[in-house]
């Protein structure tokens, strides 16, 4: 008890300060520089319509990056997110087709529930069967995708099959911000508070740093990891419903290959791939950066074929910056320990 009291003042100040100093700053400044440079070259980039497009493009990736970021912080991974998004998006289309008058809230609840269930299956297999999450979720990627294929077959649902009010979610704006983007911002804030300010949230970092130590410390490791997977599934479910609102068609292949993009967004946002550090705010900014860079390169008149290569370089740079920062932190910790002793 006394130790936690002694730690209290430092934990009140230093995590906030160090968070701002290290984690989000590189990726946020990269984003700001990108936007400024593009705007100087092409002022239309920050026109109301341009900004709205940027926000709309980023929304779904942001929500998924926040969810997957939570799982990566525990030193796990979920490769099945693209398949979960596909299943939920198709389910949304199916629900509207079967019950055209259904209130939109119910559709969201159904999507969240399916996502939570699929995430829980992943988390259950990882924690109960004690197998590495990379292997399990790679398997589930195929299983969920196969189920989606079997269910959808050649069937596709188009925007016209869905109520206009549902589609308007990703068109209408409140003070210039699209509604689905507001949903994403709320998600980021809630999950960030959960991770930074609550006991279960802090536990996720402890588990990601060293799960053996966390277990010895009395943290319910399996339960917390399961929570992270369910949270990720739920958020992916939300992203799936929003996908159905934003894009014209949903079918058997919706969301294929999305998983590595989302991992990339989280990594660019400063979440260490082996867990224990990073923040979902960073992951969200990483997602915005990766989606913005494509539009930005177009606005700058860069040949569209260069875009993916530049994204690749960006990812590698982000990992390098992360590495340098962690080496510097380790060195500083060592010297401060030496001076204290």
């Amino acid at each position: 008890m006394t130790t936690s009291h002694a730690l209290a003042p430092t934990t009140g100040r230093s995590p906030f300060a160090s968070l701002v100093k290290q984690r989000e700053v590189p990726v946020a400044s990269a984003l700001i520089v990108l936007v400024i440079v593009t705007t100087i070259a092409n002022p239309l980039f920050v026109s109301p319509q341009g900004v709205k497009d940027l926000m709309l493009n980023a929304t779904i990736t942001v929500i998924m990056a926040v969810g997957l970021g939570t799982v990566i912080i525990t030193n796990n991974i979920d490769l099945s997110v693209g398949s979960i998004l596909g299943l939920v998006a198709f389910a949304t289309g199916t629900v509207f087709n079967a019950a055209p008058g259904i209130p939109i809230v119910f559709v969201f609840l159904i999507g969240l529930a399916i996502g939570a269930l699929l995430g829980a299956i992943n988390g259950f297999l990882v924690t109960v069967a004690r197998v590495p999450s990379l292997v399990i979720t790679l398997g589930m990627l195929y299983i969920y995708r196969g189920l989606n294929n079997a269910w959808a077959g050649g069937q596709q649902y188009f925007a016209g099959d869905r109520p206009a009010a549902f589609g308007r979610l990703s068109v209408d704006t409140v003070v210039g911000i699209p509604i689905i983007t507001i949903i994403a911002v709320v998600v980021v804030v809630l999950v960030a508070i959960f991770l930074a300010r609550t006991r279960p949230g802090r536990d996720l970092y402890a588990i990601g740093s060293d799960d053996q130590a966390a277990r010895l410390f009395g943290i319910k490791v399996s339960k917390r990891v399961l929570t992270a997977f369910v949270l990720n599934g739920t958020l992916t479910g939300l992203a799936g419903v929003l996908y159905a609102s934003r894009f014209n068609s949903v079918g058997a292949t919706t969301g294929t290959g999305l998983e590595l993009d989302i991992v990339a967004a989280a990594v660019v946002g400063g979440i260490a791939i082996f867990g224990g550090s990073g923040s979902v705010v960073g992951a969200a900014i990483g997602a915005v950066l990766l989606t913005t860079i494509t539009s930005s390169l177009t606005a700058l008149g860069v040949d569209k074929f260069w875009q993916q290569a530049i994204v690749g370089i960006l990812i590698l740079t982000a990992i390098l910056v992360e590495r340098i920062a962690s080496i510097r932190t380790a060195r500083r910790l060592r010297t401060s320990e030496a001076t204290n002793a």
Partner: protein, 376 residues
């Protein structure tokens, strides 16, 4: 086989040191250890028949037997041909990938390397280069792609999962830069038909000779060379491996280069088999390769795995896929089969281990109770 690492460590310590590189060691030089070597040999023979790799081979034989008996037209020369032609890209990359995963790393950029190779091949052919020069350039691309991954992982010390997600995007992006959305398809018919030709009436594709050479190369490398014996040691414990004199960084670097080269060869194969050089060739096969390697019994944590097991893993997936297609079942359902095989193959042993651990704990508790009851 004269094994430098083994003899030097043995002469330094002077005792049969517990050395991870010798976990499946070659025969010791002196006659004093004849009995030990005999015991080791029996053990190894038993492991050969009951190990994870052997189980996968039995599973493959069982799969083939069931398919041949239940699926009409499965047991035919055409099956052999089409099944193998489709399996070759995965089969080839699975070999170096298995070694990379055994050392505890991973390479997600393989499909992009193949795509980049294919794109360059198309552009050079369109520019009028000769085929031999093009092949050389393609292999060099593989070397460079692999070396970039290897250097970032070993020299800079970055996690391979993150690095190869980056190079996955980068190499595919470069493929787009090179060829854009064009496709080059006018490769010489003699060459493209060679890549789909069969050996006599056996139905076995001619290129299988080369694929077999790659399989044998990596099999011998992993199981019969001192270099290969260091790989599981590295995967098991990097520190222990460097203590016994393994150059961990160098070994990992060359594994990434090998993966790059084989991926480039797959790029060549893909281009000529489908007679089309495009930037999106082989997109997404990295996860299929990893699924097959893991199904073949390679541990994702490194340290464990065998080439026969991986070959069986690849062929099980492709024969079930082919049988489903012949049976008129849409091959999209195959995704579920791949996933179930992968999940089942890791969950089952793990659940058995958990159950065994529990029953052992219960038995130990019972013994303690019985002992204390006898005392009082």
């Amino acid at each position: 086989m004269p094994d430098r690492t083994t003899t030097t460590t043995a002469s330094v310590t002077g005792a049969p040191a517990v050395d991870p590189t010798r976990a499946s060691s070659s025969r010791p030089p002196s006659g004093a250890r004849d009995t030990e070597s005999a015991a080791e040999k029996t053990l190894r023979r038993r492991r050969l028949l009951t190990g994870r790799g052997a189980i996968m081979v039995y599973a493959l034989l069982a799969t083939l037997l069931v398919c041949a008996l239940t699926v009409p037209r499965f047991a035919s020369v055409q099956t052999t041909g089409f099944l193998l032609l489709d399996a070759i890209p995965i089969l080839m990359i699975a070999m170096p990938m298995a070694l990379v995963i055994i050392t505890g790393e991973i390479d997600l950029s393989v499909a992009s390397t193949a795509g980049l190779t294919s794109a360059v091949m198309g552009v050079l052919w369109a520019a009028g280069w000769g085929i031999p020069e093009i092949f050389v350039v393609c292999v060099l691309i593989g070397v460079v792609c692999g070396a970039v991954n290897g250097a970032l992982v070993t020299t800079v010390g970055l996690p391979s999962l993150a690095v190869t997600i980056g190079t996955l995007a980068l190499y595919r992006g470069l493929a787009l830069v090179v060829i854009g959305d064009n496709a080059v398809a006018n490769f010489p018919p003699a060459l493209t038909s060679f890549f789909t030709s069969k050996i006599g009436g056996t139905g076995i594709p001619t290129v299988m000779v080369g694929v077999l050479a790659i399989i044998v190369f990596f099999g011998v490398l992993l199981h019969k060379s001192s270099f290969g014996r260091a790989l599981p040691a590295i995967g098991f414990s990097t520190e222990a491996a460097s203590f016994v004199g393994v150059h961990v960084g160098r070994v990992k670097f060359w594994m990434f280069v090998a993966t790059g080269v084989v991926s480039a060869l797959v790029g060549i194969y893909w281009t000529l088999r489908y007679s089309s050089a495009r930037s999106d060739n082989a997109t997404g096969i990295e996860l299929a390769v990893i699924a097959a390697v893991l199904l073949g019994g390679v541990s994702i944590f490194g340290g464990r795995g065998s080439i026969p097991g991986v070959v069986a893993g690849v062929l099980i997936i492709s024969s079930i896929s082919y049988a489903l297609r012949l049976g008129g079942i849409s091959d999209v359902v195959l995704n579920v089969v791949t996933g179930l095989l992968l999940v089942g193959s890791v969950v089952t042993p793990s659940l058995i281990a958990v159950a065994r651990e529990r029953s052992r704990a219960r038995r130990a508790a019972r013994d303690v109770l019985a002992a204390s009851a006898a005392h009082s």
